[in-house]
């Protein structure tokens, strides 16, 4: 089930197995039949750790979604609540427990990822704490998403850290990194940029001291850890991603490795059956590197996907043609044995051709083109100091607010703040058009630095752009030679920092680093004697890049590109608090006071 986790440089399946083991242990603690009541948000991430079959093996017979009122009837001995430590969920649980009259079953709570005093206090206040046989925590910080990708899927990490100043998610990050080090060895070098990165590194070093007694005797798998604050690079997520996977996410949204697509294009055209009744349920597809074709095209610029697909189509049909050449029984047998694989390849090809068509309809539209043009103007520093007519027109036509906010923020970031007059104009337009209630959202954007008035006359974005070569005029989309292909010209700042760190080192860009927010630092962790790696000639180094506050698929693609570059000498594993795109990110910063019930 999780073969794709073992393919990469680092076997992330170890992490998954460790998580599964712990889950099994907890389930076995509750003897007898069980029903699980799920905090809905957790089902996605849990699906990546354990399928229903595992739960079933441990006598889980029913699963419900957590909601108020009475529990659905279930003839089981144990009711287990799988929840995040949130107060509002405690109230629902209390309601569930109170309404249970059978008295014959045991209740348990499993907090994910950590139990919280406050929640237990709330349960106590509600008078149900005593009803629980087990109150436990399931430490699920970093969830393996793919062979080189870990995410905590903490939906509001950026908001909490940069807006609300709540650093709980950073604490979880540090804990998660400790778990990772327990399994993969101490990471000898830590680099970081940004306030949160500093904070996480401090906590890690502190925790290391706490566990000082139990020396880790595992040969380190990671050579370096790079911690990057999202607010060091606010620009990248705002830009529209142009890789295949990035566009799928931008347009349809990928959640927990799955995407839901409009069903029309996926209608099964079976012979004999009329293809009249189109499916109405959205088509759900799992996207990861287990699918050979997807692994091949996911990180390509969308403009190169068509060619790749048609090449693949030729190979597959050639493979099917082989059957005519099969003469002897042996040859036929061999052909047949390859059939399942070929059929899977063909259906995968069909799926991705459909997806590519869907996306193409959108990317060839005028609206998409205009939007991209404005983005690229901003990124290259054209006219960022005045009100942009495209944005103005979009507002006048009541385009979706998130789109507007992305563009305005982008303009602000690219010019190191907007002139007060320009900023006020945009804000006024937004408030008058979309409603006064967005006042708070605008405030939030200002607080996080996405939107700000120009304070100094000096705009240092052009300097940063030039030093780090953020804009490449001749980006090659088909056979890329630089990471800038992921945004058709724009090289993500965060990835440039990563790239420079590997070679020639951050010392060469001290000036730029000083312009970016937060401190940059380097820490070393002492390895026990005898664990120093003896590097083979030509063996690549491995870096874990941790994006605090989220990472986009395009950035991931860029890092994968760097890993594959022959002379880079570095392989990257990516970890983050949350996989984001510009829209989901901006959305997480929005406030909706109007939806509070009066």
């Amino acid at each position: 089930m999780a073969a794709h986790l073992t393919n990469g440089r680092v076997n992330l399946n170890i992490l998954r197995e460790a998580a599964r083991k712990e889950l099994r242990e907890f389930l076995d603690k509750c003897a007898g039949t069980k029903a699980i009541v799920w905090d809905e948000y957790l089902t996605g991430p849990f699906g990546l750790i354990a399928q229903y079959s595992l739960l079933k093996e441990h006598e889980v017979e029913k699963m419900f979604t957590l909601k108020g009122g009475r529990l659905p009837p279930a003839d089981v001995k144990n009711i287990i609540f799988f929840v995040r430590p949130r107060l509002e969920l405690m109230d629902i649980i209390a309601e569930n427990v109170f309404s249970d009259k059978t008295n014959s079953r045991d209740f348990h709570i499993l907090f994910v990822p950590r139990r919280s005093m406050l929640c237990e206090q709330r349960l106590k206040e509600q008078g149900v704490q005593g009803s629980f046989t087990n109150i436990d925590e399931y430490i699920l910080d970093l969830i393996p998403y793919d062979g080189d990708l870990l995410s905590m899927e903490s939906e509001s990490a950026f908001r909490e850290c940069y807006l609300e100043n709540d650093q709980t998610s950073l604490y979880h990050t540090a804990k998660g990194l400790m778990t990772l080090q327990a399994l993969y060895g101490t990471i000898p070098q830590i680099y970081g940029k940004g306030e949160c990165a500093r904070h996480v590194a401090n906590m890690m070093l502190r925790m290391k001291r706490e566990f000082a007694g139990s020396q880790n005797q595992i040969l380190p798998v990671f050579d370096t850890l790079l911690l990057l604050d999202r607010n060091v690079d606010l620009l990248t997520p705002l830009a529209t991603q142009l890789t295949y996977e990035g566009l799928i996410d931008e347009i349809y949204g990928i959640t927990n490795g799955y995407v839901k697509l409009p069903p029309e294009k996926f209608a099964q055209k079976k012979q004999g059956e009329g293809s009249k009744d189109l499916p109405t349920e959205p088509k759900k597809l799992q996207l990861n590197s287990a699918e050979e074709l997807y692994a091949e095209i996911r990180d390509k610029n969308f403009n190169a996907v068509g060619a790749a697909l048609s090449k693949k189509a030729k190979i597959i049909s050639a493979a099917f043609e082989e059957r005519h050449n099969a003469k002897t029984v042996g040859e036929i047998k061999q052909f047949v044995s390859q059939l399942p694989h070929m059929q899977a390849a063909r259906s995968s090809l069909a799926n991705h051709t459909s997806i590519a068509e869907l996306i193409k309809d959108i990317t060839t539209s005028e609206a998409f083109f205009d939007n991209l043009t404005v983005e690229q103007e901003f990124m290259t520093g054209v006219d960022t100091d005045k009100v942009n007519t495209y944005i103005e027109d979009c507002i006048a036509q009541k385009a979706p607010l998130i789109k507007i906010l992305r563009l305005v923020c982008m303009q602000s970031v690219c010019s190191n703040g907007l002139k007060q007059k320009v900023l006020d104009f945009y804000k006024r337009e937004i408030l008058q058009t979309y409603g006064y209630e967005h006042m708070l959202t605008l405030n939030n954007l200002e607080k996080t630095g996405l939107l700000k008035p120009q304070t100094s006359s000096r705009n240092n974005y052009p300097t940063i752009r030039k030093t780090l070569k953020l804009w490449m005029e001749d980006a090659n989309e088909q056979t890329p030679n630089d990471i800038s292909y992921v945004y058709s010209g724009y090289a993500p700042l965060s990835i440039r920092l990563t790239q420079v760190l590997a070679r020639p080192g951050w010392r060469s860009i001290e000036e730029v680093l000083k312009m970016l927010p937060g401190p940059h630092f380097e820490e070393r962790q002492q390895l026990p004697a005898g664990l120093h790696k003896k590097r083979q000639q030509g063996e690549n180094r491995t870096t874990l890049v941790f994006f605090l506050g989220g990472v986009t698929y395009a950035e991931i693609a860029a890092l994968r590109f760097l890993s594959q570059m022959e002379d880079s000498g570095m392989e990257y594993i990516i970890a983050t608090t949350k996989l984001i795109n510009g829209s989901s990110w901006v959305k997480s910063l929005m406030d909706h006071p109007e939806t509070q019930c009066p």
């Binding site: 107060l87 950590r114 139990r115 919280s116 005093m117 406050l118 206090q121 609300e164 100043n165 709540d166 650093q167 709980t168 950073l170 604490y171 540090a174 904070h199 906590m203 502190r206 001291r209 706490e210 566990f211 000082a212 007694g213 139990s214 020396q215 103005e392 027109d393 507002i395 006048a396 036509q397 009541k398 006020d424 804000k427 006024r428 337009e429 408030l431 008058q432 058009t433 979309y434 409603g435 006064y436 209630e437 006042m439 708070l440 405030n443 406030d591 006071p593 109007e594 509070q596 009066p598």
Partner: protein, 862 residues
Amino acid sequence: MAFITANWNPLGEAFYRKVELYDMSWVLRDGLRDSLVAAAPYGGPIAVMKESRCLSPSVRPQLEIYTASGVIMATFPWKSGPVVLLGWSVSDELLCVQQDGTVLVYDLTGAFQRHFSMGQEVVQSHVMEAKVFHSPYGTGIAIVTGSSHFTLATNIDELKLRRLPEVPGLQGSPSCWAVLNQDRQTKVLLANGPDLYLLDNTSCTAVVPPGVSPQGSVFVHMAVSFSYKYLALFTDTGHLWTGHAHLQDKLSEVDTKIRSPPKQMVWCRRPKSQQPSVVVMWDRLLLVAGVCNDTIQYPLEEQCVCVGELDGVRLVSPSRHELLQEVPLVCEEIFKIASMSPGALLLEAHKEYQKSSQKADEYLREIKEQGMLGEAVRQCVEAAGHEHDTHTQKALLRAASFGKCFLTNLSPEAFVGVCRDLRVLNAVRDPSIGIPLTHTQYKQMTVQVLIDRLVYRRLHPLAIEVCRYLKTPEYQGVSRILRHWACTKVQQKGDSDDVIVRCISSRLAEAPGISYSHIASKAYDSGRTELAIKLLDYEARSGEQVPLLLKMKRSQLALSKAIESGDTDLVYTVVSYVKNEMNRGDFFMTLRNQPVALSLYRQVAFITTIIIIIIIITTSSSPPPVALICFCKLQEQETLKDLYNQDDDHQELANYYVSASYREKRLESRLSVLQSAVDEYNKAKNEFSAKATEEEMRLLRFQRKLDDEKGAGLLGLSLQATMEALLASGLQKQADHLYRDFRVSDKRYWWLKLRSLAEKEEWEELEKFSKGKKSPVGYLPFVEVCMKRSNKYEAKKYVTKVTPEQRVRAHLAVGDVEGAAEAAIERRSEAEIGAVISRCSSSSQRLLLDKLQRALATANRK
């Protein structure tokens, strides 16, 4: 070395030997006579106290604690009540069972630790006899009272008293009794004259051991083996019955011909031996009786005490300390006179080798011919472990090492292991340390426990040496020892806090995994709060620091430590704790009888707490009140407001009001909350927001007015939506009013009007509108809105008005490819020509396409 067998005595098929452990260095005035003596097993310490009944009531007996070699560790006068029994717990604590049932616990240095009682009724009826016993559950105590009741506690660390059922017909104390451990249950076996009873939790069962003769004789003494497996009964006829403790099998019966009851009776057997024996002691005689009905008799010159061990019996007398044990089989095989066992031959071979005699070769050859060299080495190694004399140990190990040279594939583990063990054992057996452990006992009790024992005796340096020598992982070894050392250090009076902290931190700096909080809590327990706080500074784990700080009522420090850790939950813990602390107190008490005041207080109390915490925070260095804000966000919105208020954070306060305004149902209250927001925005010098809020208020009032007048249902809509709605329902004038009043940008208003007109398909109006003021949005939107309603005819009217830059798009929008082509060619724009080409169908518009291609080529060339 022939004399090794000199002190061997045969018993059945086995031999018994007495090994001299120590010449006792103690000076006992009256020997051990009339004294309570307790010697802990596994070579543990010895406690001695004169029995109170032998002293005049005015004299206070002296309680003395010695090592097994007689070195004094502690002595102090006994000031408490009369003691019935002394005993040792598994963790080397001295238990003194008093007549009134109180048990006083002392450590090895004679420092009082704690006390507990064996039950209230005992105070009256007195403890007649008591026994301390050890089981897998820990150390237990059993007593029998003056009213013939048995009470026992299986584990004194988790005291649970159990009173056992009554024994029929028992008056006073039984003639003898013992504690058994069977089937994971603790039971008492007792004899009342000739009758035996087994007492468990619920029942009292009469039992009869098989084959006791003569019938009807009275049991005067009984003993249970170290492992609770065997039982020995001594009758008044001088018979010694031995059997299994479950009383179903008899092993043997020996007639000792001594009718007086023995002073002590102890089992002596070595694990795995099939020949257990019992050591019976009278005043002047020690008798070893085996199951083979054979006996050995040792005359005694002094008063002795027998201490049962796992693999023998130790005899403590005022002058000597000896170990009586069955000679281990390997030792017997090697040292037995005329033994031809491989081990014996190897030992001999090595002896000859040292003499440079060729006989060495002969012996070796002999062993090798039998193919027994491996066995010979094994025997020597094993025997070395069992020997106490270092010369013998060396001789045996050298022989083993010699034999090893002739073997190619012998694993050295056993040899190295025994060498290491002996090094440790010899070190702790040294008279200055005085722990006479045998190898068997050492293996049974493990290094961990040995380290503990050394630590209890405060032999920290030796313990550390042992750990380093055995390469025990630091976490379990050195660190643990240092922690214990530090704990004793903080309890030392006299030294100043700073001296102690410096001393501890310098010594512990290098050791990993030290729990400073544990040390600090010890310091706190012994009343040194300041010291504890200083020590806590070194604690790395905030999770450990914070609870202790709270316990010591240092909430401020606890809070800043919690914030430092980044663990939000920990912060919550502190905040809720402080909140609870504040609820208590005298203030609360005075309010209790006034319900109204109380409920008011309840609401206020929390806020007060928060404010107090803010004061704490702002006065301390300056950790951010971040954590608090989080806490409040979760707990209570209202509190948040007060918090911002307290902080003079006008911006946040204003935002709070904005958010709050949406919770108000009535427009008036909503407006007044918004007014507060305006005030706060003004205070925060946020002009834009203040103005925007004022506008919102104006809009709300306007909407309300129109809703009242026309029932337009506008309240809550955005300005844009309001104007849209107004236009849709034909309220042009009002819309225009808003446009002017709110200074809506022209562009936006034009767009709005266009769309609204097109939506209503008022084409004439639209045309009129286009002819009015020059459009600020250009004329492409006119085309677009028309096309949106699929009105190509109307759309075409505006194509000509569109600026040249947008004309291609306009033509394409209305589907006029040719027009678009013309415009594009005219503009010679590559991109635009391309765009048109993509819209041409290749079949029907061949000509046009060619024309465009040519134009493209020209444009390209330029």
